[in-house]
Amino acid sequence: MARPMDEIRWQDLEIGAAVSEHGSSSEYKTGTWRSLRPVVDKDQCIRCGVCWLYCPDVAIKQSEDGYFEADLEYCKGCGICARECPVGCISVVIEEF
């Protein structure tokens, strides 16, 4: 787990300020940026994965039952998935945290 930036002492940095904890950006939850939230209507969803493929934030996950849903920890609410869903089964609602 990477420490918060302002708690890091110089001795904690790796040589050359490299970062060997790959993929550690996932500790930063971009979901807090969101003002809109995508909501899937599972009754219409054909489980095609198009929304997943187009999400710039890798914020759509496939669940056990094969449906694709936004991971709200990372979803920034751009609306691309809703726009690109071939059956139009994703609606966008105003986020209330």
Binding site: A17, V19, E21, S24, G49, P56, G77, G79
Partner: protein, 308 residues
């Protein structure tokens, strides 16, 4: 490869090598392009990246969005840095200092990094024939520093250093044709792509990776922030760029051109131009002149691909 089943999107590589938590703007199709390129390349890849949006959004200390080895040195030198990685490893493997392994050596940069400040270094790397891929993410301006024009900004686009004004229509030069410059180096593979056409894009990346020697990919990457469009329309505008022939999808492989996608019907450029804030100041005649130029350029390309 672990793949989803049935639908074509679900056939795509599941692994992610450019992960969540990156700080790109909402709806950034440049981030999507990086994600798709990395999916096609897979784990055995080393990336050297130029300074720019994708570098900044993916690497604020002490974290990284990268799941593959990644290095950023400066703005103009990703192609030289990857040359060093490739040649250094080649020497060490030959000398038995490293076990042999097939690795994709990939340099990435924005249009500014590629067509402007890093042009000499890219030319050097292509000419030397390293086994590498160079990927240009073209969002048609210097976005990281606040939407300044580059030589890849199209005519008529208003940017912070080519603003539209009383006596200005925005960018007064035509977009530099980077893929043709790459082709002039007689390298084995050059292609254009756009994340709005993800399968075409990933096919081209896989091809570039399989080919020995240098390959150049030029990826139109819609930037909602700089183009002043709603974030949900990033994919739509990429599609429009292709379907209006403003940005044709083609390949150049071992000396032969081929269009990998022919729009039917070809949409009027008006549909692409209108709705983008950066072109808002343009009048009907301006759009007509863009239309005319687009038609001519596309015809040239069709001819080239038919000759072959």
């Amino acid at each position: 490869m672990d793949k989803f089943s049935v639908f074509s999107a679900r056939l795509v590589e599941k692994g992610e090598y450019f992960t969540s938590g990156h700080r790109a703007c909402q709806g950034c199709a440049e981030a999507l392009a990086v994600r798709l390129v990395m999916k096609a390349l897979g784990r055995n890849t080393i990336v050297a990246m130029a300074t720019g949006c994708m570098e900044i959004v993916s690497s604020p200390l002490p974290t990284t969005a990268w799941e593959v080895p990644w290095i950023h040195v400066a703005f103009e030198n990703a192609s030289a840095v990857i040359s060093g990685c490739e040649s250094g490893m080649k020497a060490m493997m030959r000398k038995g200092k490293l076990p042999p392994k097939k690795i994709n050596f990939v340099a990435m940069g924005g249009d500014g990094a590629t067509a402007d400040i890093g042009m000499g270094q890219l030319s050097g790397a292509l000419e030397r024939g390293h086994d590498m891929i160079y990927v240009c993410y073209d969002n048609e301006a210097y976005m990281n520093t606040g939407i300044q024009r580059s030589s890849s900004t199209p005519w008529g686009a208003s940017t912070t250093t080519s603003p539209a004004g009383k006596v200005s229509k925005g960018q007064y030069t035509q977009k530099k044709d980077m893929p043709k410059i790459a082709i002039a180096h007689n390298i084995p593979y050059v292609a254009t792509a756009c994340p709005s056409f993800p399968f075409d894009l990933m096919d081209k990346v896989e091809k570039a990776a399989a080919i020995e020697g240098p390959a150049y990919l030029h990826i139109l990457s819609v930037c909602p922030t700089g183009w002043r469009i709603p974030s949900e329309e990033a994919i739509k505008y990429g599609r429009l760029a292709v379907n209006t022939c403003v940005f044709p999808l083609y390949e150049y492989e071992h000396g032969e051109y081929s269009l990998t996608y022919r729009p039917h019907p070809i949409l009027p450029v008006r549909e692409y131009i209108e709705g983008q804030g950066r072109f808002r100041h343009l009048g009907s005649e301006d759009i007509d002149s863009i239309q005319e130029r687009t038609r001519m350029e596309y015809e040239k390309l069709v001819k080239l691909s038919e000759e072959d």
